[in-house]
């Protein structure tokens, strides 16, 4: 079944996109994380430099490698460098 993944955008990623959340559609076979990130970069050029320094979190886990397939219902959070405190 086709559906959407949820992309959560924080701080400079949110500012670059102008929204805190995106819901890109994905085919039933899913989409590679690498491909999703490329698509986001093409659609939102200002997001590209942010993506280069951000950590990616898939379903609440930090992802070291981008060889991950996302399916409908999965959640990806884009974490620019932290600046709390």
């Amino acid at each position: 079944m086709a559906g959407t993944v949820r992309v959560l955008l924080f701080a400079s990623a949110r500012e670059a996109v102008g929204s805190s959340q995106l819901q890109p559609k994905v085919e039933p076979a899913g989409i590679g994380l690498t491909e999703l990130v490329e698509r986001l970069g093409l659609e939102f050029p200002r997001l590209r430099p942010v993506l280069r320094v951000s950590r990616l979190v898939v379903n609440g886990e930090y992802i070291g490698s981008k060889h991950v397939t996302l399916r409908a219902g999965d959640e990806v959070a884009i974490h620019p460098p932290y600046s709390g405190g």
Partner: protein, 147 residues
Amino acid sequence: MEAVRLTRQSLSIASAYASLADPECGGVVLFAGRVRPDRLQGSSVERLEYEADRPMALRSLNAIEQGAIRRFRLGRVVLWHRTGPIGVGGISVIVGAAAPHRAQAFLGARWMIDRLKQETPIWKSESVRPARPRPRRPSRTRGRSAG
């Protein structure tokens, strides 16, 4: 009060100290971070805006709390971060450590705030009052959802 908090409410040093009550712990160290007005050249910051990836940030704060207790044998810990807008002089973060001896309390508090800054998904952005008016830019077209 809970050891870990991520809240839009203002943070109080007195409440943090009260949370660190423990008869076996003679030494208490508190760290407070607060908003400074001097972040940007040519403008003065009126307030900062803090945002968090809330579930991930809470998980991080809890891991730091547990790590500090184990590593420095702390009796009590406070690890509080505020989100939302915070005016100049307002407290954005309080870290507290109570221990039988002061060395542990100092090392534990320092370790916690250093870890928090490195690995807790919280961000600040500046809400500035420009020193002089800036020309208006044409509003940017918002992109639609990717995909």
